[in-house]
């Protein structure tokens, strides 16, 4: 595999926020048991993402990097694929690696870092590039983080809406065999 280059990096979200970091940020303090947003996500930037776009194939690497000392190792990583995950369709590879390790990808693809262009939180746009199914799951994973910080839950949800409604969940497929065929016909007009 050839050496790849990192085309950009994006400050994303906190995967493992230490109490110290939260204290420094002053954002999203713990509200106690009755608050929906009880877990804090700091605005401090303890994680970065980089997208590598080599030229030897249609793939994307999103590498999330975090400070190992910033919190419990692996905290909240389980909300993402916590090991190299190969995903259908766009051939998106989500890797998680420790700070300082090389960010590498097997193939190139279109740019992902366009969250600001879409008026979305950058992390949502990032995952809006994922195939459906995976997209919903990862988008909501990130949405959840956003919600934890949101002072206005409704606004946060509205912001998420484009990413969440873009593709219907696969599980919505009718279970009846004939019903599925009717649905296919209906979609074909």
């Amino acid at each position: 595999m050839r050496q790849l280059f990192i085309c950009g990096s994006l400050l994303l979200f906190v995967l493992a926020a230490s109490p110290e970091a939260r204290a420094q940020s002053g954002a999203c303090e713990h509200r106690g048991a009755t608050s929906v947003f009880e877990l804090a996500i700091t605005s401090s930037l303890l994680a970065t993402a980089a997208v590598a776009r080599p030229s030897d194939g249609p793939a994307i690497l999103i590498a999330l990097e975090w400070h190992r000392g910033a919190g419990p190792r692996g905290a909240r990583i389980d909300l993402l694929h916590d090991d190299p995950a190969l995903v259908d369709g766009e051939r998106v590879l989500v890797f998680v690696q420790r700070r300082g390790e090389q960010l590498l990808a097997p193939a190139g693809s279109r740019a992902l870092l366009r969250g600001a262009d879409l008026g979305l939180a950058p992390e949502l746009a990032l995952y809006a590039e994922l195939p459906r199914g995976e997209r919903e799951e990862l988008a909501v994973a990130l949405a959840r983080r956003s919600l934890r910080c949101a002072s206005d839950r409704a606004a946060a949800l509205a912001q998420l809406q484009p990413a969440l409604v873009a593709e219907p969940a696969r599980s919505e497929r009718a279970r009846s065999f004939l019903g599925s065929l009717r649905a296919r016909r209906a979609r074909q007009g």
């Binding site: 790849l4 590498a63 190969l86 990808a105 959840r144 919600l147 065999f177």
Partner: protein, 583 residues
């Protein structure tokens, strides 16, 4: 990619093929076990490598992505569980079981009212294992009376509140003073199986079968050995989280992946109680624990398998431009010649998807993120491939009443799932899944048996399969209406409803059968069933097949293949879940 030393591909194939197939009719009996090939592979799947290498990115300790959506904005749902359906003994607690973890203070924040005859019945509320609110009467429920239960403000872990939950239960007149009878099993294995195998240091579980609902708050499991939990060493018998998983009627002890058992013999002490607090005599289980070496994990690497329903290789040497799967559907009567509805591609795809869905479910014990079954080849990379469709391609075309090979499928056995690129589409010997062979044999048997009655196969497919006198889907005058987007069963005529039911039944039967065959053959390529004696293998000297009542049986007939309850055995599930260590 694995590198194999000292064994040629031809040798490997010849050895592995010996027992990889299913012989539905046991006609050939040619499943003689062969010597499994020695493990000579070396993998470096998770090992960090030099910069510049794709494999160089280190993975975190794996935890599966939760199956459900991760944005939790919905409140929990509850159901009431009493010791006997909706009835309970007057001295027994009742449970409110949530479908998701509850808030750690849910029992304090909830408001529960229990009334009987218009009077409140005093009680206490506790939280058990994050999933259950345990409601225990102070004294007893009103004997022989109905009770109404109201729970308000039940918070899930993320603070979403279920505003109101109402239910009812009956309290019997007699107190429950008898201890339940409980069968506890490690990894759901038979006791003799559990004694022989080595279990992995992470992921062990204990399943409980009880004639009464067990009390998730009182019941405990103690590990009589020092363990590591969340990175810290804990002494033997340490207090650990309860680790109970539901449903309450089939309680399971499922420690998180953060719990690591020590190597060697580990004993578990189970103190179990029913909802009335009656204790079971202390149970003890023991397991031989070993570390599952990352290189020996069956799914140390991701397994991508292309289940190819588009292959065209049957009968041998006469590819005709029509996929074998399509030809199967013509024979089973789920497609009609000439495609009168213009839906043949959609039908073939829909049924293939459903069959694959069934296969996925049957192999569901494997790590979800590590095993991918797909209908199309991925855009890059070389996946494993299994061809599905047609009859046994090694046989010449036959007439309906000719002999059947009895071979429904065949795939190479891959010890420990060391190889991830098996190509199960060869012709000599024939590899793949052959639904056409099943049709051939079952249709012949159905016709021969008609004087005495209809076989199960005949009952399902006689309305559709032309060779059985049926009218295939698309050729019947009613079929066009059944697939009209505006059609609903509510407005169907009796004839339409009957035709629709026949089609639905046949589609389920076919996809169950093909899904089971696909799962069986793929399981061979994933390392099942390792034939040697435990702990090196799973089943001793029974060849590459498993118990006769299970999916990995070497002889499966239509009645069992179509049965949705057919599943892998506990040993096979534990292997796929990477809960066993094979040496």
């Amino acid at each position: 990619m694995d590198v194999e030393v000292g064994v040629t591909a031809a040798q490997r194939l010849r050895r592995a093929l010996a027992t990889g197939g299913i012989f539905a009719l046991a006609l050939l009996g040619a499943c003689a076990p062969d010597e499994p090939r020695p493990k000579t592979t070396a993998r470096s799947a998770d090992a960090p490598s030099a910069p510049g290498s794709f494999e160089g990115v280190a993975a975190l300790p794996a935890r599966a992505l939760p199956a459900a959506g991760l944005l939790d904005t919905t409140p929990p749902t509850l159901r009431l569980v009493a010791s006997h359906g909706a009835s309970t003994a007057p001295n027994a607690a009742i449970l409110l079981e949530a479908d998701e973890p509850l808030h750690e203070r849910a029992h304090e924040l909830v408001r529960v009212i229990v009334r009987s005859g218009g009077r409140a019945v005093p009680h206490d509320v506790e939280l058990a294992a994050e999933r259950w609110l345990v409601i225990t009467p102070r004294g007893s429920w009103t004997g022989g009376a109905a009770h109404e239960l109201l729970a308000e403000s039940v918070l899930d872990r993320n603070g979403n509140a279920l505003a109101r939950f109402e239910s009812r239960f009956e309290a019997g007149r007699f107190e429950d003073l008898a201890a339940p009878r409980v069968d506890a099993r490690l990894l759901d294995l038979e006791p003799e199986q559990a004694r022989e195998v080595l279990v992995a240091s992470r992921g062990l579980s204990i399943t409980l079968r009880s004639d009464e609902v067990l009390h998730p708050k009182l019941s405990t499991v103690r590990i009589l050995a020092p363990v590591s939990f969340e990175g810290r060493r804990r002494a033997a018998r340490s207090a650990l989280p309860p680790f109970w998983a539901g449903p309450a009627e089939a309680l399971r002890y499922e420690p998180s992946s953060e719990l690591e058992l020590p190597r060697g013999r580990v004993r578990f002490e189970l103190d179990l109680f029913d909802l009335a607090g009656n204790a079971v005599a202390r149970l003890e289980l023991s397991a031989r624990v070993a570390r599952l070496d990352p290189q020996m994990r069956p799914f140390a690497r991701r397994d991508v398998i292309h289940v190819d329903f588009a292959s065209d290789r049957w009968p041998l040497g006469s590819a005709d431009g029509l996929s074998d799967w399509h030809q199967d559907l013509l024979r089973f009567g789920l497609l009609a010649e000439g495609d009168p509805l213009g839906l043949s591609a959609a039908v073939a795809e829909e049924l293939a998807e459903r069959a694959l869905e069934h296969a996925r479910a049957l192999l569901g014990a494997a790590p979800r993120e590590r095993l991918e079954l797909r209908l199309e080849a991925p855009p890059v990379g070389t996946p494993a491939r299994l061809c599905v469709g047609g009859g046994d391609p090694s046989l010449p075309r036959r007439q309906l009443r000719g002999a059947s090979s009895g071979l429904l499928g065949r795939a190479p056995f891959d010890r420990r799932n060391a190889t991830h690129e098996e190509q199960s589409c060869r012709l000599a010997p024939a590899l793949g899944v052959f639904p056409g062979e099943l049709f051939h044999a079952e249709a012949r048997a159905a016709l021969e048996a008609r004087a005495r009655g209809a076989t199960a196969f005949d009952q399902i497919f006689s309305a559709l399969a032309p060779e059985l006198g049926g009218t295939p889907f698309g050729a019947h005058p009613l079929d066009a209406r059944l697939v009209d987007p505006h059609f609903t069963l509510a407005s169907a005529t009796p004839a339409e409803a009957a035709r629709a039911a026949a089609l639905e039944r046949a589609s389920v039967a076919l996809t169950n059968v093909v899904g089971a065959l696909v799962a069986h053959e793929l399981a061979h390529t994933l390392g099942l069933v390792e034939p040697e004696d435990p702990p090196r293998g799973l089943r001793g000297s029974r060849g590459y097949h498993g118990d006769e009542s299970e999916l990995m049986s070497g002889a499966l007939d239509f009645a069992r293949l179509v049965d949705p309850q057919l599943e892998l055995g506990a040993l096979e599930r534990a292997f796929l879940a990477e809960r066993l260590v094979l040496r």
